[in-house]
């Protein structure tokens, strides 16, 4: 004979289990969380002060400088030649005029006023870039645009760069192909260090493994999570990037599609 008490307990056991499972059924964890954890670990191990606000620290890497350095770093990562980007101009708050860019700088960029996920244009700058590869040195101007939504900023850079200078390396993966355009994506850690800074052996290891992107500038050494999506179209290198933004990959993809479909 089945013990009546056991049956009762089995039923409540099942009910509790089901209730707890149901309560958590639709929960999804942020897909960038592991990068955030790596940042915390990195900063804890390197005893970086976190007293300041990360968003304040990001202000120094405004617009053009930030994005150009970021994209050039990715380009440079696997070739090990030096690259330099800077903007000598202040951010301009009105949308750039395509015809002006064409006539002054010789390339035709595509961009939007507002992305479908609500990021709105907030300013642009012309960037000056120099790349050294072997004995070759090329200089060119690029366009960098800032888009803002709440406290987050996304940077779109457009640079007329021929394919021989573009190599994403092994850690940047093709995430989607749209009309023969390969979209490359990477999430990793980004650290801005002062000029003359010597990388620690651990940082060199992380950089070689594609886990850390180092850039030189005004910095207190804090590390941030970094998302980067890039593609080439009509001879231009397009790069979308964000710091501590928590955008999902599909959201980044839809932003890239907004530009491609423009």
């Amino acid at each position: 004979m089945i013990n009546m008490m056991d049956t009762k307990n089995n039923k409540i056991d099942e009910q509790i289990k089901n209730a707890l499972m149901q309560e958590t059924n639709n929960l999804e964890l942020n897909n960038n969380l592991f990068n955030k954890i790596k940042v915390d670990i990195y900063n804890a191990e390197n005893k970086v002060s976190q007293k300041g606000n990360l968003r304040m620290k990001r202000n120094f890497i405004t617009g053009a400088l930030c994005l150009s350095v970021a994209s050039a770093t990715v380009v440079a990562a696997s070739y090990i030649w030096s690259s330099e980007s800077y903007s000598s101009n202040q951010l301009i708050n009105s949308l750039p005029v395509v015809e002006e860019i064409e006539s002054k700088y010789g390339f035709s960029p595509k961009f939007v006023d507002e992305f479908s996920n609500g990021f709105k244009f907030s300013g642009y700058a012309i960037t000056n870039n120099t790349i050294n590869k072997d004995t070759k040195q090329i200089s060119f101007e690029g366009l960098s645009l800032n888009y803002e939504k709440g406290n987050d900023t996304i940077y779109l850079s457009i640079e007329p760069l021929s394919k021989e200078f573009i190599n994403y390396g092994d850690n940047v993966e093709i995430i989607k192909t749209i009309d023969d355009i390969n979209l490359y994506y990477v999430e990793n850690l980004f650290k801005v260090v002062p000029p003359g800074y010597v990388l620690t052996p651990e940082e060199e290891k992380q950089q070689l493994a594609g886990e850390l992107t180092i850039s030189f500038g005004d910095s207190d050494g804090t590390v941030e999570t970094y998302q980067y999506m890039s593609w080439t179209e009509d001879g231009n290198l397009y790069s979308l990037s964000g710091f501590e933004c928590d955008l999902s990959t599909s959201e980044m993809l839809s932003m890239a599609e907004d530009i491609i479909n423009e």
Binding site: D13, L20, L29
Partner: protein, 181 residues
Amino acid sequence: MIDTIEKIKQGDLKAFEILFNEYKDKAFKTAYLITHNKDISEDIVQETFTACYLNIKKLKHPEYFKTWFYKILTRNAWKYSAKLKQEVAIDNIYDKVEEINFKNTQHNIEYFDNPTLNEEIKKLNINLQTTLILYYYNELTVKEIAKVMQCFEGTVKSRLHTARNKLKNALAENNFFMEGL
């Protein structure tokens, strides 16, 4: 798993990512069951894994990783839960409304009684709730729960018994409980 933990002790972040992927969902949902707040639960998971990596060298017996990990997680969850009780977070209210709307649109007849049961679970004190969650949701044994909660096995059994009885009585009072209980 023991190999993975030994690699993490040597600073292997790839091994740590494997461990993270294995535990992240359960950790997140456990934190949510204790705090009932998604954003806070993400913070708890972030803090727990960070602490886990930074302190893993102190774990002398890798075979006890699971109980060691859940001990850190529950302590963090309790800490945030206590803070939450002192605050009325507007975000949480919106989360709750969204959640209720979602559930209403699901027309989930099969588990129609579970929202009531969940409400009753939330009314239990933090020790009873945590014991219940670790036992039913995380499927930890009484012995493991005793290690996580740093109490005697008898205390865990007694908490489970008390929690079950409280839930049965509450549901019976609400006339929601199934016939035969």
